[in-house]
Symmetry: none
Subunit: 222 residues, 4 copies
DNA sequence: AATGAATGAGACTTCATTCAT
DNA sequence: GATGAATGAAGTCTCATTCAT
């Protein structure tokens, strides 16, 4: 009726809510990484985010919903970064190289995030609503992957890629190998580095280099 | 395996114990694959193996011990297969190719086993006695991996591999990419096949082909 | 293998299990009555039965299953008692009178049980697997209720009931009224008795008397 | 209802408050019926009434208070209807018949309300402030029930009822049976109708008919 | 050697209610 | 007067494991 005390309402609440939401998500993301998505408990998330258990449920109706929320954020960011990276390149090989660079950088600088994604790979094997993930993927990177598929054909056309690659198969195969390599290295991370004394992204870059060598059209002169 | 404490009992006992052990391990392996190592419960394993819960503890002191036992078996087999495969080949490239073949075949024919291993990758990130796994690895494929490391140098020497590969880095990087690709495909398996209509091992073979192309010394003629 | 220590196993365990089961059911039945089926908590039931919470779940997979188990027992007993009572009577009116007597006695001596059943009446209104109850009913009193339906026709034939009763309707209507009266009195029980100073079964008997008077064929002489 | 504290505010406020109150009560009544008084949550009531949870507490200090408020309304209405119905009749039997008619009509047309009341019957058994209900009853139908008690004596006097009825007992007994029958049928409602294809009020009317036959003085002629 | 019984520790979630704005 | 946020207290159920027989 009277708008007296209500004028300033909308905004501040919204801001507060968003902040709380973030705190929960950040705590969760860290714990999911440290302890694994299955093993991290609501109690831990709660304790880490400084919010009481019952309060968390005012923000997310489920432990699962927290996972999905994180996933969505990660996806959106990744898609944006990939798009930006590939846009600059001219040849197909250049685009692929740019892609690989983004992945290497993610491995170096956002390792926790890559590890988070790594947990999903093994989950695909199980009864798990992968459809929902695919839906998110679809929503966020509308044509993203569709475009990847065209890269091989484009690369053969522009002369940057070998002629004997299979437009329908190679890109998929290579992307899978790169993602598999990246995620595995993110997970093995510290252990590998302790053992071999080299940062894992160096390993990833070397593998990428080999793959790119394998994709590239034979240099004529030499 | 060891015959140590069996002197007190007749053969039949030992045979019986071994049979029971196997039943438990087989049930566990299946469930670990179907439901995930964390989610599969002791109750499920016992139900599936036909042994009562409390009896299982006469064979394995832990759920973890079951995991380790399976792991050990898987490892031993894998090492043997790899050794056999590489022995035939002459050049380093030939050996690597043979290795890749074994991996592709495992993906096609022992996918559950590959998936089982895939679960460990994500676990490396967590507090988890990886040392124990490394110990097993060491015991079983004593020089296995050590030998892999020498492959690059050997390949450069025998002229089958590019000269600009890094003896200390490349093999590691490539092996990681191959394993990452293989395990990821094993996990995504059915989903991918349903979507693209191609068996995943074909994708693996294509990725391997590219990698091998990248490793191979430039063909002189041309 | 050796049956040494196993010979005496089967029986004692079974007996123990049955005893425990009973303890739980008895505790639950009492609490369901005292506090209501919804309000009685598992914690209360376990405390009252002297068994730990997790142990209860070895006997009943659910709180609901406890309810069903009690229900089944109550039903079986009630059906047996009704059958025994009606068997003695000759005329239809006699059978109905016998039935009413059993109900009055239940109200006097097994009031808690009647109250337990009373809780279900209100639940029928809600989403609730009444089918399961009907299934139990069917299993236990196979023809029980079917036979009731025939009573009116039989009573008209044998001259003990009014001729203008509706064979398809009256028995149902009357049984419902009797059960409704009985269960309501069981629930209101103590309160009514405190207020009016009369045991509730007397009220039930008076209502029954009126009903039976209403059913009975007009006495010819007069 | 009382105008006490309303002097400070203008009319509109009072009207608004009354409207809000109604919305809450109506939503609650519906939910109490659909889900049961125990199971219906504040959140549901809140959502259904369009008022925010915390606002509800400006109108009712408790979930219980909502129940009581509904109860009071239901009682007042019922009492008024009964009074109106009985006033027209001349003989005691006529009054009772009128009463029964009201009950049958309520069952047909206000079934939700009857079901609401039915929930209280089972609750009487429990620790529950029945005194408060009795107080409401007293306030609303001051002499209501007191008068019922006189009906039997009146009926014997005016020749409409059997002489062998007990003035202190029968009316109570019969009223209980009627209420028990009515409420039980209201609760079983749809289930019974689906099964037997007859509306439940027909069953109630048949039971009432039998009861009235049982109460009525023997017709001399015939 | 096998197993029935028992259980501590904890997981996730719900809900009526309060409080500051 | 209205409401967003917060929460204590509880509730149901699960699970790996132990122990006595």
């Amino acid at each position: 009726m009277r708008k007296s005390s209500t004028a300033t309402e909308g905004r501040p609440y919204e801001a507060h809510r968003e902040r709380q939401r973030r705190r929960i998500l950040e705590a969760a993301e860290r714990l999911f990484d440290e302890r694994g998505m299955d093993r991290a408990t609501m109690a831990e998330i709660t304790a880490a985010s400084g919010v009481r258990a019952s309060t968390v449920y005012q923000y997310f109706s489920n432990k699962d919903e927290i996972v999905w929320a994180i996933l969505e954020g990660v996806f959106a960011e990744a898609a944006a970064r990939m798009k930006a990276a590939t846009e600059g390149a001219e040849t197909a090989l250049g685009k692929i190289t740019a892609l690989v660079d983004v992945m290497a950088e993610d491995l170096a600088r956002r390792r926790a995030t890559v590890r988070f994604m790594a947990q999903f790979d093994a989950m695909y094997a199980r009864e798990w609503p992968a459809e929902r993930l695919i839906a998110i993927e679809a929503r966020i990177s509308k044509r993203g992957f569709a475009e990847f598929r065209k890269l091989i054909r484009a690369g053969i056309a522009d002369g940057s890629l070998r002629r004997d690659l299979d437009p329908n198969l190679t890109m998929h195969a290579v992307m899978n190998a790169l993602i598999g390599a990246q995620r595995r290295l993110a997970s093995l991370g510290n252990r590998v580095e302790k053992e071999y004394g080299k940062p894992v992204d160096e390993l990833f870059r070397e593998a990428s280099r080999v793959i790119l060598l394998g994709l590239r059209a034979e240099t004529r002169e030499k």
